[in-house]
Symmetry: C2
DNA sequence: CAACACAATTTTGTATACAATATTGTTGAT
DNA sequence: ATCAACAATATTGTATACAAAATTGTGTTG
């Protein structure tokens, strides 16, 4: 990390910055986020860092261990299943609403997103591609004009990124954009039912591309998994 | 508020305490939560109070205005609609799952909840009754064994309490327990479909008992609604 | 007396100092 | 050499001091 002195970072800005770094797998699950380290990196006091870490813990992206520090969260298999069950409840119907409200401008936004994701993949920036892939889902909630649900979905998407980091099986990344293309078509036709159905199976596809068998919980973080 | 010196309050404890006070309408929407005031009331430093207020703001129960302080949130009509739309997506299917997993022990828990709510109503403790009524919904999510969804629902329930404080129309409080009784029956029969349907109409009932007409946004908080 | 400017006060925002706790390192006895 | 006890170090938890901002109060001027 590098110190950027040009502007002073607010707590919210740090949250966004860290959330994106986590989402793009630049900060893998289990990474320790020391307060001094961060405060020096951003050129701010620990007070602000602390507020940011607290916010991230409320979004389940960071785990705070009392007197032990903050770590990038490592969702359990259990939690992974729950996250996708929640997405299954929220996203299909939200996609339905979005389809009915779709405008040319919003359609163009989604198209641009897919284009950028392709570009990122071609440039080898897989982290950025993953982030954009998630943004596609958030954008749909925004188009559905449901900010409360949008916030929930945004949280679930970020957590999904951690889940992917831990449990991804397939290497085929294009299945993603394929599904997004199909959704785009349904949106273009303002076909709510189709969008809902496509989103449902897209999410199902995602889960099945994960390795969520109960065996072999990855003890990524050293002693933590052994001692207690 | 009174200072309690017997034990030192942690941030989490303060969050729970304030959340419950808000949920029970002891702290109505718009109430200013001054940091000094709270730190003195709980006998802790502003640092802890600040962390608690930050947590509550992330749950949308408290609104933080920069350099102006913390206030118990006043959900807009727009936000109120969104909250119940989110509940409509989450709760019916969750009730379905809960019904299928229902055990005698859990059934007894729900029964006790309804009983306590009745008792609270008879004792004139309408705030406590409202809290218990919300807990009924949270308990269902817990029984469904979906902690992620449970957290979402718990948030939405708390916010619903604020919405009720602002927009409640009917005075009939027993419609509530009536619906809960019906749900209990479905749970006892492990009838998922019925539970899902009952929850759906229960939520619809709740919304229609609110006054969410766009006219007359209540300018409860003085100058705030006028100046900016 | 109304309106404005400016001072005083209050309240929040941030940094830092210190305390508490956990971790690591060292010494010494067996 | 192994282990335990204890010291040293590092990191987080909390309180407080100070800075910044907003609010309130006061007085001057027209």
């Amino acid at each position: 990390m590098e110190t950027i002195e040009t502007k002073s970072w607010t707590s919210d800005m740090v949250v966004v910055d860290l959330e994106r770094a986590i989402h793009e797998h630049r900060l893998p699950p289990g990474t320790k986020l020391g307060e001094d380290e961060l405060s020096e990196a951003y050129g701010i006091s620990r007070t602000i860092v602390r507020a940011a870490l607290l916010a991230l813990s409320h979004r389940h992206l960071v785990e705070l261990k009392r007197n032990r520090g903050a770590y990038v969260a490592q969702p359990s298999i259990r939690e992974a299943r729950e996250v996708f069950e929640a997405r299954a409840l929220l996203e299909p119907r939200t996609a339905h609403s979005a389809a009915l409200r779709m405008t040319d401008k919003n359609l163009a936004l989604l198209q641009a997103n897919i284009r950028d994701e392709h570009a990122a993949l071609d440039a080898g920036e897989s982290g950025r591609a993953l982030f954009l892939s998630g943004q596609f889902h958030v954008e749909i909630a925004r188009i559905a004009d449901q900010s409360t649900i949008e916030i929930f979905i945004s949280q679930l998407i970020s957590r999904s990124s951690l889940i992917i980091a831990l449990y991804w099986r397939r290497r085929a990344a294009l299945c993603e954009t394929q599904a997004h293309h199909a959704l785009l078509d349904a949106f273009a036709r303002k076909d709510g039912g189709a969008a809902e159905q496509l989103m449902k199976s897209h999410l199902l596809d995602l889960v099945t591309s994960l390795d969520l068998r109960n065996v072999s919980e990855p003890p990524t973080s050293l002693r933590d998994a052994l001692n207690r």
